[in-house]
Structures are given as structure tokens and as C-alpha cells.
């Protein structure tokens, strides 16, 4: 049997959730059966990672503005490389990639929805337009993959794709065994000295976008700091809201108490320094960072929303609070800080229960099976 040519496509070359999943697939798909290439905008950490894996990286000039030339470029990439399976990740790659695939007749097209973001848009017209687009695009898609059971339900409810083409492949996270990284403890100790954050450290790792609800974490800082004046709240991540959030911190007089660290390459080490991990999101697909925090045995305070609920069980592996409720968020954080036994118990259970439910092996196997089934259906 010949190797199937797979193209994994995403728009931005930064390292968000979708990119991480794409990289995990690229790294782990069986190379005997699949020849994997990656297509994204050039010039980011994703490109470096792909090249490190020794896979071919095909740059494309993704942007939000559609252009005819760009569509032609994508079509050329698909036909010149004789791609058998195009797998698009996220809305923008899905839109342009699938349109190009239809033009050049790529046999198998898979699309993963990494969180159905447009269902949470405040503008009802935009929301309808995106739902309509998704439905239209799914007509020529072989399979539409959802990353959580909740997303699958939503996709069914809104009929985003014909029911027989909707699939569930839960995200899997590569967990690095701390024992295999002997320098880690020293690095973290060093990081403590380098940043001199006052403890306890309450932290999150999130893109600064409305979706992640970081504003609510800032609004929860006042009650938290009133009860625990020595605490520091740390946010790792950059994004469109950065300036606005910094202004809010200054306005509330929280300088040096709430710290926005921006985008960092040492996010995992920083996460290890947190005493409590918070995820204040308003909506999620299946948030990888929660699984990473769980793997480190962090006590978790998250919002009770679709994706997070599927990972954290309230009172067993973390605490879940109403989204968009800073007071409730502060309450949960303070409970974890005040009750060390509870924090330890939740953290330990999270470490034991959560990562095994979201393994890379399962995600890759399910994806491979999906590729092979669809390819066989096309006689490849």
C-alpha cells in the first residue's frame, strides 16, 4: 500500500491550542502509512517546530481578507504536492483550505473545529453568517471533527454538518514525565529568583482574548488580595486585549500585584510555579492547558463551561464556578489557598485522573483510523 499524502493546515504560525494539536499529529502519525506536510503562515514558532521534525513546511499567506491570488496559491500547493488528505484546523484554514480543495479535487478533506467560537459571538448577524458558512463548507467535507463531546452536541444541534460526517476526536496532550527532565527543578528554582514573585502565586496561561475571561480574573483580584495581601496573580500570554487589561490593572491600583507576563517560551516552567491554576474562560473547545495543569498536580479553579467541565469534575479534580462571576472565582481561589488539604487532594486526583483520559495515543489512533476509512471510501 502506498503512503497517503496528508497536509495539515492552519492559519497562524503561533503556538495556540490548534497548533499544538496539529504538531502532535504531525509528530505522531505513523510515517509508514502517512507522508505528512504542514501548511501555515510562515515565520512563527510553528514553522521552526515543523522543520525540527524534518517534515516539509509549505508557507501560505493566510490573512482574514480573502484574495483570489491566495486561493490559487493554496490550490497549487494541494495539486503540486498531490495531496490525498487535507486536514484543516480552525475557521480560517477551514474556509480557504476547503475552498481550494474543492477547486482542485483533493479526494479527502477533514476539518477540525477547535472550539465553536462563533456560537459565542455577541453579534447575532455574524453568528448566523458563520453558522451558514460552516454548513455550506461541510457539504464538500468528508468529515468534521469536534474536540469535545459538548462541541459535538452543539454541532448536531446547529446542524453544522450532516450527522454522518460529524466525528468526535478528543484532544490529547503530550505529558512530559518530570523524571525525564532532570534540569527542571533547577530551572524552576532559578525562575523563582529571576522573577521574585511574592507567593502564593495564582496564575493562568491564556491568550488575552475575550474568550479567556482574563478581565474577570483581574476583577477577582481585589477580594483575593484583601484576604491574602501577600499573593500575586500572574497571567502568561499575549493577545488583542493586552493594552486594555494593563489599563484596567493600573486603574484598579493593582500594579505589581497582577502581572501580565506576555507571551513566554517557558510557560510550562511558569505553570509549575503556580500555587493555584485558574482558567476563567467564557467558552472553550477542550482546553489543553487544563490537562497540562492537572498533569503537574495543580489545584484548579475553572469556570463551569462546556470544554472545561469535560476535563475537571467539580469537587473531585478541581473547583468549577459560574463563568463571568469574579466574586465566585475569587471564592474558589481563596478556598484552595485557605484549605491546603483540599488543594492537595484535588491536585493529586487531577494528576491521576485527568491526563490518562486525554492521551496522545488515543487521539492519534482515532485520527489515523479516520484518515484510513475516508481514504478507503475514495478507493485510495
Amino acid at each position: 500500500m502506498r503512503r497517503l499524502k496528508v497536509l495539515e493546515m492552519i492559519d497562524r504560525p503561533s503556538l495556540g491550542g490548534g497548533q499544538t494539536i496539529l504538531l502532535t499529529l504531525a509528530r505522531n502519525l505513523d510515517r509508514e502509512r502517512f507522508e505528512v506536510a504542514v501548511c501555515a503562515k510562515a515565520g512563527g514558532p510553528l514553522e521552526d517546530e515543523v522543520r525540527k521534525l524534518g517534515l516539509s513546511f509549505l508557507p501560505a499567506a493566510f490573512s482574514k481578507k480573502p484574495s483570489l491570488g491566495f486561493g490559487r496559491d493554496l490550490g497549487r500547493i494541494l495539486s503540486e504536492n498531490k495531496i490525498d488528505i487535507l486536514h484543516t484546523h480552525g475557521g480560517i484554514a477551514g474556509l480557504f483550505g476547503r475552498t481550494a480543495a474543492r477547486k482542485v479535487g483533493t479526494p479527502v478533506v477533514v476539518h477540525t473545529i477547535h472550539g465553536i467560537h462563533y456560537l459565542h459571538y455577541r453579534n447575532p448577524v455574524l453568528k448566523r453568517i458563520y453558522i451558514g458558512l460552516e454548513r455550506a463548507m461541510s457539504r464538500t467535507t468528508s468529515a468534521v471533527v469536534c474536540v469535545s463531546a459538548a462541541d459535538l452536541d452543539q454541532a448536531r444541534k446547529y446542524r453544522l454538518a450532516p450527522a454522518d460526517r460529524l466525528r468526535l476526536v478528543r484532544n490529547g496532550v503530550e505529558i512530559v514525565d518530570p523524571a525525564s527532565d532532570p534540569g527542571r527543578d533547577r530551572r524552576i528554582e532559578e525562575l523563582r529568583l529571576r522573577l521574585t514573585l511574592r507567593s502564593p502565586v495564582i496564575g493562568t496561561v491564556a491568550r488575552l482574548h475575550r474568550q479567556k475571561g482574563v478581565g474577570n480574573l483581574i476583577r477577582s483580584a481585589e477580594p483575593i488580595l484583601r484576604a491574602r495581601p501577600e499573593a500575586t496573580i500572574v497571567v502568561v500570554g499575549g493577545g488583542p486585549l493586552e493594552t486594555r487589561l494593563r489599563k484596567e490593572i493600573a486603574k484598579r491600583g493593582l500594579d505589581r500585584r497582577v502581572i501580565l507576563l506576555g507571551e513566554r517560551t517557558d510557560a510550562t516552567d511558569l505553570l509549575s510555579m503556580f500555587d493555584v491554576f485558574v482558567l476563567p474562560s467564557l467558552w472553550e473547545g477542550l482546553p489543553l492547558v487544563l490537562i497540562e495543569a492537572a498533569a503537574l498536580g495543580k489545584p484548579i479553579a475553572a469556570t463551569d463551561i462546556d470544554g472545561s467541565r469535560e476535563i475537571v469534575h467539580d469537587g473531585e479534580t478541581g473547583l468549577l464556578v459560574r463563568p463571568n462571576d469574579p466574586a465566585a472565582l475569587a471564592g474558589a481561589v481563596l478556598r484552595l489557598l485557605a484549605d491546603a488539604d483540599l488543594a492537595r487532594r484535588l491536585g493529586d486526583r487531577a494528576r491521576m485522573d485527568i491526563p490518562p483520559a486525554f492521551t496522545v495515543g488515543r487521539m492519534v489512533e482515532e485520527t489515523e483510523r479516520l484518515y484510513l476509512d475516508l481514504a478507503a471510501g475514495k478507493g485510495l
Binding site: L193, R194, L195, I249, D255, R256, I259, L260
Partner: protein, 297 residues
Amino acid sequence: MIKPGFLSVILVNFNDRPHLAACLESVAATLGSIPNEILLVDNASTDGSVDVVAAAFPSVRLIRNATNSGFGAANNRAVRESSGEFLLFLNTDTVLQSGAVAALLEVLHSDPNAAAAGPLLFPGPGRVQVSFGNRVDFLGQLGQKFVLNAFYKKTLTRESRIREAGWLSAACLLCRRSAFEEVGGFDERFFIYFEDIDLCRRMKASGWRLLFVPRARVFHEGGATTGPRLASSRLEYRKSQVAFYTKHASRGSLRLLRVYLHLSLRLKKIAGRFRGEEGRRLWTAYRTLLKTGGLAR
């Protein structure tokens, strides 16, 4: 490992043999009992200055860059290899006056929310360089250049009050390491110029305070390594300025700067500044800068 209370003095050298010795001697003389290390990054100098340092100042740790990686990148490299809780960034054409470093350190010790402290820089007796400022946008810079600087130059010689600033010059800058690392250090996309203002801006945005301490006094000749190549350093200055505006300033400010640069370039062209082969090369470089706008290194 980072050592509490420890000071790392960081210098970046590029063909500045004439000033190096005086500078390093003043460092040794003023630090006194402050526990310290001195790191000097050489950006591929060709004037033998490295040999001078190696011979006369054996305690200075030499880091040799194979190519000139730019001012910010060289400093970042030294910071990675240093271990001080405090970092003193120092140009090679400075001479520390007695008590200068102690005065700066005292300020950072007494204010835990201060990220950095800068001294009064002077190029000669009774003269002052304005090495701090508040606003950095087109009108702010214009105002500082034509109005404030004249005022500061008159008043600063007599002043000892510590004032809060929007930016401080890295010709001599004492920095708290945690603040420096928190904001991610110098942005290496700036080759030279504006990397210090950019660093300060990011520290400010993170809620840190920046303090100008006129009690600490440092002689600074200025332009020692850039002077001999004046025309090309002016170009580097403009490159960094456009990059800085692209990164930080409002769109209006950037537009004003571009209009200003277009006009002044035209005038200089008419005045015959871009004649000859070298002139034509500069002219194309300026044109490309204005077309592409800065940060694309």
C-alpha cells in the same frame, strides 16, 4: 544561580579602545564593597580593544561575539550569563563618579516597585545630557527636543530631587533583574538606539516605576562608537525610531514622523547630502525604510 544583593555590570564594546580603560577603572574604583562581577561583550571589534581588556583587567569576564549582533542582543546575552540581582548597563564611553552606583542601588533598595534608576549624565563640567523623558510620540519628542531639554539643561545641574520618568537612557542604567526578565529583556529587533526606551516602556506598562537620580553622576562622552560613522548611525537612529513608533506610538504619531522624515530627506537631497556612491546608498536605504517601516528585521 542568581545571587541576592549582587551587582552585574554589563558593558558592550564595539571598537572603543580609546575610552575602555578609563571606564573600567572608574567601575573598579566606585564599586567599593558592593559584591559584583563585570561582563564585557565584544561585538567583533577590530581595534584590539579586547586584548587591552584581557591584559589590563583580568577580572572582567569577556564574551566575544563573532559578529556585531547589535546593542540589545549583546546586552541580553550578557544578562543570560550573569548572576546579579541588579544589572548595571553601562556604555564604554562613560566614567562613573564616586558614589554614583551606591546612590542608584540605594534607590532600588528603598523602592521595591522601582524597576530601574538612571543617573545624571554630563559630557563636561557644568553641562548636562538629558537622559530621561516622559512621552515618546512625535509631538512629545519635538517638545522635548526644542523646549524641555533647554530648560532641563539649565536647571538639572543644581538639582538633587529624584523624579519619576517615562524612560531612561541605557548609557548608564541600573536595572532590577526581576523587572528586566519579567518584560523579556531588550527587544533584539532594534539594532541600536531606542532599545532602552522600548525596554522602559514595557516596564512602565507592567506597573514598574522608573527613577531619575541626579545625585548619581556619570560622565558620558556620547557617540563614541557611532561618531566615526555619523551618516550611517543617523540612518540606524531613524530605522530604530520608525520601528519604535510602529511598535508603540499611535498611528497619527507614526504618520507625522513619516511626513517629517520625507520632508527633511527631500531638503537634504536638494542640499546635496546624498551625492556620490555612499550618498546614493544612504538615499536608497532611507527610501526603503520609509516604504517598509522598521520592525521587519
